[in-house]
Each structure stands twice: as structure tokens, then as C-alpha cells.
């Protein structure tokens, strides 16, 4: 296959970035008078020189201006079936935006038994009257006002910060059901604001729940129902400046509220990147990554968050914790950063982070390989990991997901393209004898200087060939990665038609990858049957990361819930069983989503009682009054 140059691709990216900027700028131009709940008072940023972001921030205080209140992402972007019954993705933000996806309907109908006649529409607007009135701590509020830090107790603002994106959370919102929500939202503008807020919270015994990008899938943002104190959501989204870039050491000092897309865009403008690209990077924040031990798609080149972080500043009820220097590695007892990373908001608020940056890659190239079956694909990934030659990203989708990816192909304009597609299919299934119901595909992303990328590419394709892999073009690769960004939007479409689902992840040693994939998928199917699900579920997985000693696997699981009285409960039971299956087969509790409240029950068996005691004693010392009372993790 002829390889596209990266030129068109990066110009594409720039176009999208420009579009985003103009949309955002439009939002920012709106008058602020309407926001009665908000007291505007900007805090002077320390690094004015490099503060290039304040006018171009993606996330406004009032998230409702650009985002859905009961679904994923931007209000203007969603899948829907148009009048002709064809699937379409609205808006202008994504490559898929404005396109018709002809195969999606048939896929949904055949995979789930879904039907366009059977709709389950969501409640259109948030009814503020169902939101319980805030329990305010008047003394706290009074002192907060005097600091000039903006805050709000508007119902919409509070509801937005009461949830992440677990299925049960979104399902309840779509039905217009609102549980316990924070009583107050505050928007600190800088580290010092956070110090003041935490001090006041300690003084007045108020419960603080840090809020970054709101993309949690572990029930981490849910307000504990047993919490009687006033709950204050500390939204870091306005702390979103790059304070400085150090080109000698290749580090950047960044406020923790910045979301991934802004961080990359702003660094790109200076010719740099962090390379940290979790699937949620459009919305998730730097602080959130640190607090959950996030992992990015391109970790093979850039590393996971723990490899990227050089210095962390966190405000705790005991005071501020940070290291005295920025040495790249230290032998100074257990690394205190590791108390912070993965603490999930139980110890304090991460306010500023120094992280590594890299010059932007000169060249990027997608690719894909088709394997006759999943077993061969896994064997190939293992060999790639053994030779330590994994590209920036390498992912292996199973057969069901391959078909899913296929269903998301946008309408092709030229007969030539469709002819080519037909030819490819013929070549793979007839000439090479691949069984269309068993073959699977690996998607690849190479990055670096052109020559090395091409060399690297050859090495990987050579390995793949040994495992029966056939190069299947850049298009398939790119579409695979696109899927990651739109899949959350797709869930909303499914929920319009009785289909609910979610993804979850785990990590395991190489020798268990196949077993876990097989057993977990089988368990999901069996549990669905046992729990009375009327239609066969979608139960599919992909290997998303490779390590020296193991891999990370993602499962997607969805089903048509027509005929069930309590679909969310059934969903939760099946997911619970699937997690039990993962653990029984030697998989981990989580690779990067974190524990939150959703997976707390397995923490003790995961890290042993002594391990729990260690974490508990840190919590007891740092936060004896449980000010950071989201009750995650422990």
C-alpha cells in the first residue's frame, strides 16, 4: 500500500484544532452576566510570560455551554439516525463529523437485535427541581466569599460535578434521576487559591471532592451518600496554564487542571508534546491523570504518567507536599510521588506538575496488520514486546471488534475506493484463506523521524509476517484509533435504542492474555444468559498495550436490554462477574482506570491487608478528618 505522507495528516490536525479554537472562542465571547452564581475574580498567574492559554481554554466554568449534561462530550457532536434511517455523526469537530455511516445500522441491528422502532430517548433537559437544595456551611461560605475565589451553588453546576461516565451514572441522568450532588462548586484559579480553600475546608469541616475533567469510570466522583457534611466540589478546570517550558531539560511546569487536548495544543505551538494521550485526552485533566495513574496510548515511546512526571505539588490538609529538587531519579526512601499517584483525590489536590516534554515527532504513520486469528495476533504482539520494538502504539482488536470497526466506515465517495475494498477483502478471505469470522486486526502508529519510522515499520511487519499477518493499510489503522474517540459517543446512540454497555480494562502477564480474553468474554455471555438478557450480548476485547512482562486488555460489553425490568442492575451484576473472572484468572483490578468506589471491594485481596494498612496510615496522617472525603480506594 502506498503510504500517505504525514503532511496531509498534520494539516488535517491543524484544521481540526483551528475549528475547535473558533468554537471555543465563540463560547468565551458570550456575556458572563447571566451566570448569577459565579463571582468573577481572577487570580494573577505566576508565569504571565508564558501564559498563552487564558483566552483559549477549552473548558469553561459553565461546562453546560459546550457539553452534554447526560451524555458524552460536546453538545454538538452525536450519532443519530437521520430521516432516511442512516447513521450520521453531527458537528464539525471530528473526522467523522458530518458523515454518513452506512454500515452502523445493520451492525447494530444484527449485533444487538436493536430496532429503530424501539427508542428509549433521554430526558431532554435537566429539571433543576429534582436536585436537592444545597446543604451549605455558612461560616465556610462567608470566608470563601472574602477570598474572592469564584463559586456557585447553581443546580446545573452541581449536577455536572456529581458524576463521571459509568453506565449507571449516565443511565440515571438520562432518566432524569439525580442523587446526592455536591452542595457547592468552587473554581480556584491557581495553587494559592487551592491552599486557601483547603485551609477553610479544614477549619469548617467541609468535605472536598476534587474535580478535573469528569471522565472517571470508577464511580470516583459520586458523592458518598453517607456524607452529612457540606460537600464542596473543587473544580480545577480554570487552573490550566503552562507556567513555564524548560527547553534545556525538556520539561514543562503546568497547572494540574489543564485538559489533555489543551496541553498538547499549547505545547505543539512551541514545537513540543508530552506524548501522553489517554483515550479521554479531550476532556481529562493532568491532575486527574496523576490521581489515577493514567496511561496513554503512546506510552511505548513516552511512558505512562509515572514515567512522565518529574515533580508534583499537592495541597493536603497537612499542608503542601512537594520535592525539593527536580532530579530525574532519587534514592530517598520510597518515592512520595507514589503516594500521590493513584490516590484518587483521597489525600489532597494536585495543583502543579512538572512533566517531561519531547520535540514533536517529525513523522507519523498509521498501519494495520490482519491476522488469521486472535491467537496469532497475540503471539505477534508478544514477540514485538520481546524484541522491544513496539511502535508508539500497537493494539490488537478481536474479530467482533474488527467487524465493529468495519461498521464505522464512513460512506465512500468513489467507486474506485469501494472496488479496492472489495479486492482487499477478496484477497484476504479467499486468496489467503482467512476466515472472516476469526480474523483479527492490529492497528499501529509509528512516530519519529521519517527514516527510522520506515525502518521500524519494516521490522514490525516482518515480525507480523512470521505470525501469518498481512499488512492491511493505513486506513484501517487510522480508523481503529478514531474509534477510541467516538466510542463514548456511540454509547449514547446505543442508549437511545435499548442498548447499554461499557468498557473495562485490566492487565496481565503474557501467558494469561489469551485465557483471560477467552474466559472473560465467555463469562459475560454466560452471565447475560443467566440474568435473563433476551439478546446475545456484544462481548469483545482488544489488547491495547504491551509491556515487557505482560499486556493491557480492554473489554467492551454491551447488550440490548429490552424485556429487563432493571437493566442497570443486570449490567452491574455482569460487570461484577466479569471482574471476578479477571481476578480469578490472574488479571489485575485495573491497569489505568483506577479503583474509585466501583472496585473498592477487591482492594484488600489485591494488595493484601498489610498493603491496605499502609495506605490507610498515610490517609490517617495526611487527612485525619477525612476532608477529602470522596471515599475512593480504601
Amino acid at each position: 500500500m502506498a503510504s500517505n505522507s504525514s503532511g496531509s495528516d498534520s494539516s488535517d490536525r491543524q484544521r481540526i484544532a483551528q475549528q475547535r479554537l473558533s468554537v471555543i472562542a465563540g463560547h468565551l465571547q458570550r456575556p458572563v452576566e447571566g451566570n448569577s452564581g459565579i463571582l468573577a475574580a481572577e487570580c494573577k498567574a505566576q508565569g504571565d510570560k508564558l501564559d498563552v492559554s487564558s483566552e483559549r481554554r477549552t473548558v469553561p466554568r459553565r461546562r453546560q455551554e459546550i457539553m452534554k449534561w447526560n451524555g458524552w462530550g460536546y453538545s454538538d457532536s452525536k450519532f443519530l439516525y437521520n430521516k432516511k434511517g442512516q447513521a450520521e455523526f453531527t458537528g464539525k469537530r471530528y473526522r467523522l463529523s458530518g458523515m454518513i455511516i452506512p454500515g452502523l445500522r445493520e451492525w447494530m441491528e444484527s449485533t444487538f437485535g436493536a430496532n429503530l422502532q424501539h427508542k428509549t430517548p433521554a430526558a431532554p433537559i435537566l429539571n433543576s427541581s429534582v436536585v436537592q437544595p444545597p446543604t451549605l456551611n455558612e461560616a465556610f461560605l462567608k470566608e470563601l466569599k472574602s477570598t474572592g475565589i469564584p463559586f456557585s451553588h447553581d443546580a446545573e453546576d452541581r449536577v455536572f460535578r456529581s458524576h463521571g461516565h459509568c453506565l449507571h451514572e449516565i443511565f440515571a441522568l438520562r432518566e432524569g434521576k439525580i442523587g446526592r450532588v455536591p452542595d457547592l462548586v468552587v473554581w480556584p484559579n491557581c495553587h494559592n487559591d487551592v491552599v486557601k480553600i483547603v485551609e477553610l475546608a479544614c477549619k469548617h469541616n467541609v468535605c472536598l471532592i476534587p474535580y478535573g475533567g469528569g471522565t472517571s469510570v470508577s464511580s470516583a466522583l459520586e458523592c458518598p451518600p453517607e456524607e452529612t457534611r457540606s460537600i464542596v466540589s473543587l473544580d480545577t478546570s480554570q487552573m490550566n496554564r503552562i507556567l513555564w517550558i524548560d527547553e534545556k531539560n525538556l520539561t514543562a511546569h503546568v497547572e494540574a487542571g489543564i485538559v489533555g487536548q489543551d496541553l498538547e495544543r499549547l505545547l505543539n505551538e512551541s514545537g513540543y508534546c508530552t506524548g501522553h494521550e489517554p483515550d479521554s485526552m479531550e476532556f481529562s485533566s493532568l491532575g486527574g491523570w496523576v490521581a489515577t495513574r493514567a496511561s496513554g496510548m503512546k506510552k511505548n515511546i513516552y511512558g505512562n504518567i509515572e514515567d512522565l512526571v518529574v515533580h508534583i505539588k499537592m495541597v493536603t490538609p497537612r499542608g503542601v507536599i512537594e520535592k525539593s529538587c527536580q532530579g530525574p531519579r532519587m534514592s530517598t526512601g520510597p518515592d512520595v510521588h507514589h503516594f500521590i499517584m493513584g490516590s484518587e483525590g483521597t489525600l489532597g489536590v494536585v495543583t502543579e506538575v512538572t512533566m517531561k516534554i519531547r520535540p514533536m515527532p517529525e513523522y507519523q504513520k498509521y498501519g494495520s496488520v490482519v491476522f488469521p486469528n486472535f491467537e496469532m495476533g497475540v503471539a505477534c504482539l508478544r514477540e514485538v514486546a520481546r524484541q522491544r520494538c513496539a511502535p508508539a502504539s500497537i493494539r490488537l482488536m478481536d474479530n467482533e471488534q474488527f467487524k465493529f470497526g468495519h461498521a464505522l466506515k464512513p460512506q465512500v465517495s468513489s467507486i474506485f475506493t469501494s472496488f479496492l475494498d472489495g479486492l482487499k477483502k477478496f484477497y484476504i478471505t479467499k486468496f489467503k484463506g482467512f476466515d472472516p469470522n476469526r480474523l483479527c486486526v492490529a492497528t499501529l502508529l509509528f512516530e519519529g523521524d521519517r527514516e527510522k519510522v520506515l525502518q521500524h515499520e519494516k521490522q514490525v511487519y516482518d515480525i507480523a509476517a512470521k505470525f501469518g499477518g498481512l499488512a492491511a493499510g493505513e486506513d484501517n489503522g487510522q480508523r481503529g484509533y478514531m474509534l477510541t474517540f467516538v466510542i463514548a459517543y456511540l454509547r449514547d446512540l446505543g442508549m437511545d435504542y435499548y442498548v447499554i454497555g461499557e468498557s473495562f480494562e485490566t492487565s496481565m502477564p503474557w501467558d494469561r492474555v489469551l485465557d483471560i480474553c477467552r474466559n472473560v468474554k465467555a463469562r459475560i455471555v454466560r452471565e447475560c444468559k443467566d440474568k435473563g438478557v433476551q439478546f446475545p450480548p456484544l462481548s469483545t476485547c482488544r489488547v491495547t498495550q504491551t509491556y515487557d512482562a505482560g499486556a493491557c486488555v480492554y473489554f467492551y460489553f454491551a447488550f440490548n436490554y429490552r424485556g429487563l425490568s432493571d437493566p442497570v442492575h443486570v449490567y452491574e451484576q455482569v460487570e461484577h462477574a466479569a471482574r471476578e473472572e479477571i481476578l480469578a484468572n490472574g488479571g489485575s483490578l485495573s491497569h489505568h482506570h483506577g479503583v474509585g468506589k466501583l472496585r473498592k471491594e477487591w482492594m484488600r485481596e489485591t494488595i493484601s491487608s498489610v498493603g491496605m494498612g499502609m495506605l490507610k496510615s498515610v490517609k490517617d496522617y495526611v487527612d485525619p478528618n477525612n476532608i477529602f472525603g470522596n471515599r475512593n480506594l480504601l
Binding site: 502477564p509 474466559n519 465467555a522 480469578a584 490472574g586 485481596e605
Partner: protein
């Protein structure tokens, strides 16, 4: 078309199950046509198409075996190549060589044989259909009972007939050495396992990997006998755990999502080897294992063996059964390919599961009218049977009474509904002409073949001759024993303790259950359920009344209770005799080689003098069970150092056990079952 035999007239079969006579159609078509039929079964969905040589290669190249080979090479100082060579020799000796052509040959031959031997072979089609389904979903383990050489290939024969993948079968190595037959069986799917592997590490490793590769890949259904051997007594044997362990491990390690276990119960109206079995139990050295020899020797092919029933049990999911019983994390910290000893918890679970399978086989087996007759004949004084004869109408009456009782106890009875009872009786007696004969309305025991012989028999010879016939009768009684064991043991507890208190009875029930756990199959950890079952069955047939605290005997129940007591009395008497022998011995140390003939001699004398009324003590099976029971009760210990099987006896403990058993000494302390935590949640 096939005809169905529906025995629902007497409600003898549960759930209205239908058995189909598979020979019916065979009698109407040619054997050759049958053998050459299209065979295109639906295999396990994930199964790769492996040839036998691929399978063997995969085994030899497996990480596990390579690891062990290296380890052995290190330990013994020989080269890896040498050890690998040894491994491949072992594998060659072991591995099957399943070929469709030989399956067809087998089909052809068995057609001829079965049609001659049996009137009908009944198979439950529903079970077969469930199996067909199950085979596509997960690796399947077929676990039949083993009562006759004839059933070695019966499962393969049935599966071939119904287009289901034929199994590979674990067989004893001795079968491999039988000329021609050994090879044919190998090509029909048999693989051979040595007996007494002991500590041969390499052999274990090859076997383990071989069996597990078959299971993991879903290569073919795997068939093995969980009882380990052909039961010489026709009574279920305490399961052996080795194969069960191996077969289940891929599931415990998560290498397969689930494993389906299919218990299969094979029941015979009349067993081909009946007299050979009895001789073997009496210690008459058996001829070299040879099927041709067997056929030739007794001219068996001319005789009528009634019907055979093959009952395919409901497929059991190992996953469902083991839920909550296995701690998976033990497998998480050790690489899969390394050998790992299962924890006590896992071993308990496998043991429990193996017992459950045997119990399920028992429940699935069909009891023939002859088994009922055998129970009754054994309760008749031997002099009556040998001299004046038992009155025909008396036997018929009693048998019909017993028929009601077994049905009350929920057994599957194979009593034809559409034939008058008297005819059923005479045909069953006629079928067993080798044991009894019917003359002038009286029933007599057949005594020896050469009655023409003139010289008087020595007392010992007389006893032995009688013993052969009695032990044959005993084995048919044994086919029905599992139905009566639980209520029977309760009946004995009632009789010995003379108590009506439930807790006392339960304690004694547990004691008996413990002493006789080599004789009868009790699922570990289910003492309380067994006791409840016994109470409720006795209540159901009107023998006792049970309340929260009490079990009281009813006047109307005396007949049942006395029948049950007498049924089990031979076990009590035999155990007591052997206890007495051990206590009266001068020495504290004895060998098995010495124990068996000594006991036999003592018993022969006592039987001859009329002081002992059972021949069962002469059975080597029971003698071994006693030793094993005493070892379990720690009254006898095996001496480690000795080459021969040497034991040391604790006479006080043995005599105490005997005294409790006879009711001389009360059972004090509350008896707790050792593995009560393994409570059964199934059904």
C-alpha cells in the same frame, strides 16, 4: 425407526425418560453398511484439527514438559536429549492413534458381538442429545462406570452411531499388551497408562501434559474411569483422584472456560464375567488379561445376557460445581507451565467432585429385577437354598414387596411394565441359570458345574465352591446396594444404639459412615444431608416417624428395618471378624500378603462350623477395605521403611472400634465430619 421401551407403567423411571434400543435398527441393517456410514460429527467449536502426530508433537514441545525434562536432566546428570528421548518413548507407549478406519472396524465388530450377546442395548436419547450439544461448547469428559470389559468401547460405539465425536479413552497398560487387541484399541482411541507409576517424575509429566493437552485443545472428548478399575464386586468403588486432578487442572488454571463432566451409568442384566469376578475375589489367580481368552474359555458368546442400559447423565459444569470452592489466587503467582501442587482446598474439591460423580453414576444406573431377587436370596438361610429350596411364590411375593420399597426410595428400576410380574420373575431367574435353578416351584442355588464328580469335597473346597455362587449373588445385590445404604445405616444405628434421639442416632450414623466409607460412596461433607435423606426415606416408607428431636420406630416398619439390617449385616459381621483376627494375633506387625490368606482360612473354618453366616468376608475386596478403613481410623499404620506392605496394628483401637460397632461400648464424643466445610450446594 427405533422402538422405545417406556417403563413408566410402574413409575420406575424418573422424569418419564425414554430409552431407545439401539440394537433394534442394527438388526435390520447390514453390519457393513453401518460401519461405512458417513461420520461427520460436530466437534468442540474452538478445537483445532490436530492429527495424532501433531498432538504428540505439541506434548513433547510443551513448555511444561521441557521444564521437567531439564529439571530431570539436572538431577540425574544425564543429557537433556537423553531425557527427551525417554519422554518420547513413554509418549509412544502411551499415546492413542485414533483412526476413523478403525472406528469403523470397531463398529462392525461390536455390532456382531453385541447383537449376539444382548437382547437390547438401551440408551437414553435425551442424555445423548445433551451430550451432543455440550461437546460443541466446552471440552467434555466422559466418566462411565466400569463393570465389564464389554463396556470398554460401548461409549465409542454409541457416539459413532449417533454422529458424535468419538472419545479418547484412558486404559490400563496391561490391555496394550494383549496381542492384536491392544493395537486395535489404540487405533480406536485408547491411550495407555501404567499402573503404580509411583515416583517416576518423567512419566507423570508426560501423562499430565498428554491428558491436559487433550483437554485444553478440546481435541476429542476424554473418557476415563473415575473408579480407576473395573469393579469386581459390581459395587461402586471409591473414586481415584489422579486423573480427575489432571483433567480439572486446565479449568482451575483458567486455560479453558469450563469443563463439562458427563457421568454415564452402564447397567447390565447379567455381567459377562460374573463367575470370573467371583473367582478373582476369592483369590484364584486370574488368567492373563485377554478378551479372546475370555470369550474362548467360557463359550460366553453362546449365552444370553439380557439387556444393557447406558444412561448418559446430565452434563455437569465443572465451573458451576466448583464455584466458591477454589481459591484461584493460588494459581496467579506461579507461571502456568510450572508444576504446582494443588492446595488442600483444591484437593478437597476434586475429591468431593469425584465422589459426586460416582454418586451420580449410581443414581443413574438401572436396577434389574434380579438385583432385588439377589438381595432376598442372600437373606435366606443357605441350607434352605441348597437343600429344601425356596418356595417360588414366597420369593415372588417378597420381590414385589421389595419392588415397592426401592421405588419408594426413588431408584430407577428396570421392571418391564407390559409383562405380567410372574413372567418377569421367571424370565429373570431363567436368565441367571448359572446361579439359581427353578424346579417344582422351588428355587435352588446352583452348586458347581461338575456335580457329576463322585469323591466327597473337602470342607474347604465345599466352602469355596459355595462361595463362588454366593459371591456372584452378592455382586448382583451390590448393584442395588446404593439405594439402601443410607436408610440401611440408619436402621443399623437404630438397632445398635436402641436410641430414639436424633443427635445420638446422627452421631452413630456418622461413625458407621466413616467406618464403611470404603464400601459405600458417601459424598464428603454431606453427613447431615445423608442422615436427613435416610430419615425421610424411612419415614416415606412408613418405617419410622421423625420429629425435630426424635426418630421413633413404627410397628409397621419392622419389616423394612429388619430387611435393611440384614442387608448390611454381612458387612458388620465381616468387619468384626477381621477386627477379631487382628486383636487375637500375637504379633503387632503383619503384611498384606499374610493378612489376606489368614483371614480367609479363619473365615472358612468358621463358616464350615456354622459360626459365621456370611461368605463375603472371603472377598479380597472387603479384606482390603477393612485395612483401608482401619488405616483411616488410625488403628493400623503402614510401616514406611518396609518394602512389602507391612502394617502395625494398634489392638486397643481396633477392639474399641469393634466394640462400638457391636454396641458393647457407647460412642461418646460428638462426632464431627472432618470436611464439613465442603457443604454440598448442588441440587
Amino acid at each position: 425407526m427405533t422402538s422405545t421401551c417406556k417403563d413408566s407403567g410402574t413409575a420406575s423411571l424418573k422424569d418419564d425418560e425414554e430409552f431407545t434400543d439401539i440394537l433394534e435398527e442394527r438388526r435390520r441393517t447390514t453390519d457393513l453398511g453401518y460401519a461405512l456410514r458417513t461420520f461427520n460429527p460436530q466437534p468442540y467449536k474452538g478445537a483445532p484439527t490436530l492429527s495424532t502426530s501433531d498432538l504428540n508433537k505439541a506434548v513433547l514441545e510443551s513448555q511444561y514438559l521441557c521444564f521437567i525434562i531439564k529439571e530431570i536432566a539436572m538431577e540425574t546428570g544425564s543429557s537433556v536429549e537423553k531425557v527427551k528421548e525417554d519422554a518420547s518413548v513413554i509418549l509412544k507407549e502411551m499415546s492413542h492413534n485414533l483412526q476413523l478406519g478403525f472406528i469403523r472396524l470397531m463398529g462392525y465388530t461390536l455390532n456382531k458381538v453385541f447383537k449376539r450377546l444382548y437382547r437390547s442395548i438401551y440408551v437414553n436419547m435425551e442424555g445423548l442429545n445433551m451430550l451432543k450439544q455440550a461437546i460443541q461448547e466446552s471440552p467434555v469428559i466422559l466418566i462411565p462406570n466400569h463393570r465389564s470389559y464389554v463396556d470398554f468401547l460401548i461409549i465409542s460405539y454409541i457416539l459413532f452411531t449417533y454422529d458424535i465425536p468419538v472419545p479418547v479413552i484412558a486404559a490400563g497398560i496391561r490391555l496394550a499388551d494383549v496381542t492384536i487387541i491392544g493395537g486395535i484399541l489404540r487405533r480406536s482411541g485408547a491411550f495407555y497408562i501404567r499402573r503404580a507409576i509411583g515416583s517416576d517424575k518423567l512419566y507423570w509429566a508426560v501423562l499430565l501434559e498428554y491428558v491436559q493437552t487433550i483437554v485444553r485443545t478440546g481435541y476429542a472428548p476424554l473418557e476415563f474411569y473415575v473408579e480407576g478399575f473395573r469393579s469386581r464386586t459390581l459395587k461402586s468403588l471409591v473414586p481415584k483422584l489422579g486423573m480427575m486432578d489432571m483433567v480439572l487442572e486446565p479449568y482451575f488454571k483458567g486455560e479453558v472456560f469450563d469443563i463439562t463432566l458427563v457421568p454415564i451409568s452402564i447397567s447390565y442384566d447379567r455381567v459377562l464375567e460374573e463367575s470370573l469376578l467371583a473367582l478373582e475375589l476369592l483369590g484364584v489367580p486370574r488368567p492373563q488379561e485377554s478378551i479372546t481368552g475370555l470369550f474362548k474359555a467360557s463359550g460366553v458368546l453362546q449365552d444370553d445376557y439380557g439387556c444393557m442400559h447406558v444412561n448418559f447423565g446430565r452434563p455437569l459444569s465443572a465451573r458451576q460445581l466448583c464455584e466458591g470452592k477454589i481459591n484461584w489466587s493460588e494459581y496467579n503467582l506461579i507461571p502456568r507451565n510450572l508444576p504446582q501442587r494443588p492446595t488442600a482446598e483444591t484437593q478437597d474439591c476434586v475429591n468431593w467432585l469425584a465422589h459426586l460423580i460416582v454418586r451420580t453414576q449410581e443414581e443413574g444406573s438401572l436396577i434389574s429385577p434380579w438385583s432385588l431377587v439377589a438381595c432376598l436370596l442372600l437373606q435366606t438361610p443357605f441350607t434352605t437354598l441348597t437343600e429344601e429350596g425356596l418356595q417360588w411364590h414366597q420369593l415372588t411375593e417378597k420381590t414385589l414387596w421389595l419392588r415397592k420399597l426401592v421405588l419408594d426410595f426413588g431408584a430407577r428400576l428396570n421392571w418391564p411394565a407390559h409383562i405380567p410380574d410372574s413372567e418377569v420373575m421367571s424370565s429373570t431367574v431363567a436368565l441367571h441359570h448359572s446361579i439359581v435353578h427353578h424346579k417344582e416351584d422351588r428355587i435352588y442355588l446352583v452348586q458347581g458345574e461338575d456335580s457329576a464328580r463322585q469323591d466327597p469335597l473337602s470342607p474347604e473346597e465345599g466352602v469355596m465352591r459355595m462361595a463362588v455362587v454366593v459371591l456372584m449373588l452378592v455382586s448382583y445385590r451390590n448393584q442395588a446396594l446404593h439405594v439402601f445404604v443410607r436408610p440401611g445405616i440408619l436402621a443399623i444405628a437404630i438397632h445398635i444404639t436402641k436410641s430414639t434421639r436424633k443427635d445420638e442416632l446422627f452421631n452413630f450414623f456418622c461413625f458407621l459412615r466413616d467406618v464403611f466409607s470404603d464400601e459405600f460412596i458417601f459424598i464428603p461433607g454431606r453427613a447431615a444431608q445423608d442422615f436427613e435423606e435416610a430419615c425421610s426415606l424411612l419415614q416415606k416408607c412408613g418405617a419410622v416417624h421423625t420429629s425435630q428431636q426424635e426418630v421413633t420406630v413404627l410397628e409397621t416398619g419392622l419389616e423394612v428395618l429388619s430387611f435393611l439390617q440384614k442387608l448390611l449385616q454381612p458387612f458388620l459381621d465381616s468387619y468384626q471378624l477381621m477386627f477379631r483376627y487382628l486383636c487375637e494375633k500375637e504379633d503387632h506387625v503383619f503384611t498384606e500378603e499374610q493378612f489376606l490368606p489368614d483371614v480367609r482360612n479363619l473365615a472358612t473354618k468358621l463358616i464350615h462350623s456354622g459360626d459365621l453366616h456370611t461368605f463375603e468376608v472371603l472377598s479380597s475386596d472387603m479384606q482390603k477395605n477393612v485395612l483401608s478403613a482401619l488405616r483411616r481410623l488410625e488403628a493400623v499404620t503402614k510401616l514406611r521403611a518396609s518394602q512389602q506392605k507391612e502394617y502395625k496394628v494398634n489392638k486397643a483401637a481396633v477392639s474399641r472400634t469393634g466394640d462400638i460397632l457391636s454396641g458393647k461400648v457407647p460412642l461418646e464424643s460428638l462426632h464431627t465430619t472432618p470436611d464439613a466445610r465442603l457443604q454440598c450446594q448442588v441440587e
